[in-house]
Symmetry: D2
Subunit: 467 residues, 4 copies
């Protein structure tokens, strides 16, 4: 009975939104609803059509509490105190003074004693992976990543009044600047040339003279949102009377058509070499005498002929392109990048992580798989597992054993025996519906239960009712 949140997220606090979302059965719906809340009141459909990857957007709200609960300076302080935050790894201390950008990280652990000392002397603080320390940020990003189909990351920035922490630059990601406390003066500039539009890598630091005039200049206040695409130069500085705390949510790093082609094109050539003898035929005996840079100005009919044949072979390549396999290569990178799911209490209770098996009265209680043919199961998240064909064998890649620390764990997978592949695919495609174990397309009841147990133990599925 999810409430129709699209209608009423106006003024909805994050706590309330997340509580609502916990009642939504489909993680993809959760993702789109949370994203809609993030950019409210702009309709997501309009945003992706008109703004995304195209131009900056300011969403002012005059509601300083809108993003309350996502992160705070109090949480920042708590993390420094309780967690092992390391300078240079988890926290950067920076400054940008008189046109010069500096990093001031000492070695070792970042404790409040020294961190707040840096801050008091005018340094900015950037926490690099707040999702590893803040359960709320983890939950937030783990939902959003299903909206983007690409890793959702975050950095937190805390800036003292009257200072600037970073030089003007552009990034290689789509950026959502979520203002949490105080205010910040932002200037955003167009990409400097066509080549800087949607760039593949971040820029170096620019001097003020290199970047022209801003296309957007604004003071972002708590509750406001600022979006800009990769390639848009930006800089933010604090007004004299207020500190600023914001979190930048990012996505779409190396997630372009060209990045997919980088997987696809060599694979296509491999297929072509196997299947089409034209690709295996020898080059002309004399091609080195008229091709190559030193011959590029030659007028030689053989050049035309050579280029034409080369072009023909390139054009034929598309016909050999294993697009789905290349997408899976890309998908595997995404699965590796993914945050593990942050479970709701209900999900927790119906999955292996919250199983009632426990020690008590001097012996284990509630031991033993109690999944049976009647048990109804569902993937724990739409995107938590993916069936890929790695040459001969079928592997199931999954995210539930990932770490909240980026790539701390290897990409996890296990082999799916051929006789189980249909059942796993059935389960994936059935999402978000719960399906009863006996409906698995397996040969025997025993196999159905064995598969369900395996997936349950890996945390990939949950049951409709706690076991």
């Amino acid at each position: 009975q999810a409430k129709p949140c699209e209608d009423n997220e106006e003024g909805t606090s994050l706590n309330a939104v997340l509580a609502d979302l916990a009642t939504v059965n489909n993680s993809r719906d959760r993702a789109s609803k949370l994203f809609q809340w993030l950019i409210h009141p702009v309709p997501a459909k309009d945003f992706f059509r008109d703004t995304w990857e195209k131009k900056p957007l300011l969403i002012p709200r005059q509601n300083p509490d809108y993003y309350n609960g996502l992160f705070s300076t109090a949480e920042f302080d708590r993390i420094l105190r309780e967690d092992d935050v390391q300078y240079g790894v988890n926290l950067d201390v920076t400054s940008y003074t008189n046109g010069k950008r500096n990093t001031h990280n000492p070695p070792g652990r970042a404790l409040p004693f020294s961190v707040w000392d840096f801050y008091s002397s005018g340094c900015s603080l950037r926490m690099l992976n707040p999702q590893a320390f803040s359960s709320r940020v983890w939950n937030f990003l783990s939902i959003l990543q299903e909206q983007f189909g690409s890793m959702a990351g975050a950095n937190v920035y805390l800036t003292p009044p009257g200072t600037q922490g970073f030089a003007p630059h552009y990034d290689d990601i789509e950026a959502f600047v979520v203002q949490l406390e105080g205010k910040k003066h932002w200037r955003v500039y167009n990409p400097r040339s066509l080549e800087d539009v949607l760039p593949v890598t971040s820029s170096p630091n620019f001097s003020q003279s290199e970047i022209g005039s801003p296309v957007l200049e604004v003071v972002l206040e708590a509750g406001d949102l600022l979006y800009f695409p990769r390639g848009f130069i930006h800089q933010g500085d604090c007004l004299p009377n207020s500190h600023s705390l914001h979190v930048t949510v990012s996505s779409f790093q190396r997630n372009s058509w060209g990045d997919l082609l980088a997987k696809l094109v060599p694979a296509a050539l491999g297929v072509a070499m196997e299947e089409d003898v034209e690709y295996r035929q020898g080059l002309p005996l004399d091609y080195l005498t008229y091709m190559g840079v030193q011959n590029s100005d030659k007028e030689d009919p053989r050049r035309e002929k050579f280029l034409s044949r080369m072009g023909g072979l390139m054009n034929k390549l598309a016909g050999y392109a294993p697009v789905d396999a290349a997408v899976d290569e890309k998908a595997k990178e995404f699965l590796h990048d993914c945050l593990p799911p942050a479970l709701t209490p209900e999900e927790q209770a119906s999955s292996v992580q919250g199983s009632s098996t426990r020690w008590g009265n001097g012996r284990p209680l509630n031991v033993g798989a109690r999944i049976n043919s009647k048990t109804r199961v569902q993937l724990i998240r739409a995107g938590c597992a993916r069936l890929c064909s790695d040459g001969e064998v079928i592997q199931l890649y999954y995210t539930t054993d990932n770490s909240r620390v980026y790539h701390k764990e290897e990409l996890k997978s296990f082999e799916i025996k051929t006789e189980y592949a249909d059942a796993v695919e059935f389960l994936i495609h059935a999402y978000p519906k719960f399906v009863v174990v006996q409906s698995f397309p397996c040969d025997s009841a025993a196999e159905k239960i064995a598969l369900a147990e395996l997936l349950f133990e890996k945390g990939i599925i949950r049951t409709a009712e706690p076991l």
Copy 2:
């Protein structure tokens, strides 16, 4: 007001002992008092004289609650539920059935659902580094390591009724088996030969026919302690009617005179080569014709002469041995092995970890070093830092940035400028006395305060009163 705990630790619970120890100002005293409690009522002095490295010892107590609070099956279950315990890394699943020892670790995280399933089917569980998950075990070992001057480790073993988890074998460490719950039948056997006395490496698994008859056979009950030196073969199995939980505290792995000589002897040769030209003189032109295995049966007066000169050079070596430098090499390994100090609330409050600097009211509060000339300071632990000379420079090695996970961090150190070395040594030797900063043997007040701030920021010293 520390109670004189040596007099009354009989029946003292661990909670009470640790509370008492928190009031003891000297960490070495804490260590010896805790060790005395561990082996009560045997006096430590007698133990180290008569038993340590010599023979097994049983301390029965008929007080099942004696070790309460160190660890429990409830804690085991909690850890599985809340922490990221990985099979094969943090937890082993084993069995020893019909003379065959097996390991059953699946990949991935060890959750109660599967762990208790293994246990219920008769497998033993060994948690490899409980100090990383249990603050109590961490505290316990971090105190004890100062008693041993060698890493204090621990494994937890949980065994189902009527089973045995491991084959007979001996280890390369001194072992204190602390029985926590249930009971276990133990058999301990003498080393099989002189070569197995105090061995350098652990043994393979033995069959029952290889080990003879036990020199000690006992049923260990909760509250009892069993000690045996490295090299003593041992095996433990559960009675049909009771599970067993024990923690084995270990120390003195590779901590022998020979291990120190392995540092010392090459260093001695290096010094001798530098200082004594006899070591740099050329070998006889013809020594290869009468020395070497193929000539070892030759009767040749040159052999005697050669062996005599070689012996003379070996004997002179002791005169060049840089013993203190070699001890420091060994000490550095120990500092790297050490658990970081587990601070008492009082220590916490007076050190960088509990500093009152914090975010509040929109800005950092209590910022800025407030150590001054009058501040009284003390090393946070007797053994938390050590001044070593690495060739040209003086380094201070320290344990306060170590991880509770073994060797997760590199050994930490920083250079001590020559003008600060005396002050650091002064501080180390002053322990456990607090000393006032102005008493540091430094040239200026500013230097004294700078040094104190540096050591305070690294967590190496605490102040007499919270700053």
Copy 3:
């Protein structure tokens, strides 16, 4: 005044042919004339049109002396005696008996004492790089490599009467079997399937039952030639009354259009990513939900759309393909594979290798570069150097410092300053004409001479007259 050798190479001995070729000024002409002699009387033009990469060809000659001078068993024996031939590196000892192929290489140097013992007991001998030991084979292949535009290699095979040394198999190179002594019974079989036509890698050993019936069966006698393309299965065995010695000249390993595309296609994508924003645009948010192997059976209009856009981008790729740069990448591999030029006495005398600078009468004689503006120079070989653009800088890659041992040296090159690039290109394109140094398109006479001296010292150019 080279004799028109195409008209009269019938019956021409190798010695005479090579003497003739030494008077041919253009190394490419030398190459084609030598190749024509190799396959005489079949016209090279016909051969490359009808036979090359298509089908086996036997050229019987009834002239056992035709290939005399290329290699011999006497030369084989001399090499074993005088050179450091290592089993496993330079020489393989093999047998194929009762359908089983074995290798018998002991460790260490292959001396006649053991080599002829192996031979006498029925083993075949394969010398892997005769060009490193035989100046004649080196000369022969170094000329031929310019015909193929791809590395020309050689193996020598010596087989005892009545034996077979190798199992049926196919190779990944075009093979010219040059029968030198004795005779051998050959059977050649069609590729087993379309996939085995012009294969990229060699086959495993086949059993007789896997290969069907031969398409060519013949007894090759001294002076005869047998050609077969890669992918054609073959086996040869000796008749009971005669040993066999042949050399297999090979080329076109990994020299196909596809191998060039493997350089071109990633480069094309790199250019496209830089120049065309369409390649940098983000993938659809939801593509992972309908693309990939697990979705490949889905009927979803978005799949069509996605595939269509992907196809469009692939098709556009050809427009960004830097063909000349990719050819240069391939050319660089060839230059690295090349044998260094085997110079004629006349070439030697007019190049740095035969310079008259020498020690005499207690001091160096004829020292100092005497190249002047009037000196006429020529590349020492058409293909001995190549100008390539490596990103920012222009490099001249060259073969004259290569080793006769495959890849013993790194690929050699040096940077050509921009102001010299035109002159180097001028020199390369002028080939085979000698050009006078003052005609170099450089700014100053000093630069012209400096460039000529540099190229002369590297052995890349020679002078019209000995200096």
Copy 4:
């Protein structure tokens, strides 16, 4: 009928000496005779007693032809022309002008054209391993290495008139400067301090002000010899009217008692740890509190006790020292360093390298091992093989497969089965006597012959008569 060369080597040319030595059956005698010729007329016995490793020595001869035939500028030129001499690898171009030492090596091959150009402009030339290019130098050093029991190396130095090629410095080897052509002004200086006497490593370049006054200053003329031990600073420069060519023969790099101790001492500790429980006993619990650099000034009776026990253990070490095994470790390094034997024609003819097995008349001739029970055999050199025990197995290490290029080959060895070990030892100890195969202490005639064949094939033994 070797002429008694010790009596008449006065005026004996190198050719004559080497011819004489070829008739000497024992390679150790050859070595001592050749060394005696090198330092004639100083008796070797006196030299090694009074001079070796002690002080410089000049042997003037007024016989410019004395060393003729060892090396020459003509040979230098020939090598540049015919061999692949690489700058930086085989040849260094150096200068020392105005107190500044420079190296001028270009990349690539050193041909006369550029080498003599460097020389003419005042650069010195150092050929680094003439033994790889000159058979005479190879032969010379391969004989001498048996005199030293340590690698004999050589560098050739050619210096233009009026120049100096190197700054003052000392080396880490015993040096014999053999003046071959022209003359050179040498200055030799005492080691600057006791620490520089017989040093382990070479010095950096010194300035003239650092080295004081020479203890020896002389003009070395062709035919003269100059010896100085490692640690003696030296510099040589050419007079204005003459070039200089000399070869420096070197030995005893890292061949000191201390270098052997570096093998012995860790091995001794290993044995002690295994055999003596005192070494395995634990360190005192509290040793870190009174030992170590930070405690070195403490007056603590425990320090004395600790040092005393440590000293006792160090002193006991000599009793566990496996001297012969350590000598073998050193010997193995020497065997790896050794030049392969340069065989005389007679040795060649009676060894595997000159075996009469050869190809002829269309088939191998003289094939098959013809060693029989009556064959008389001898090691080809006293020091060409060594029997060592590597833990469980016995290995025979040997030099006959070494390369003339330093360490181009791995150290060669093969396992000797236990039943052959006595026979190999018998053969080694019988040297220089020939022994008949049937006298081998093996179980059967077949084994005796098999062993002889194996050693013959490896080139380790030769026969009394050519097979």
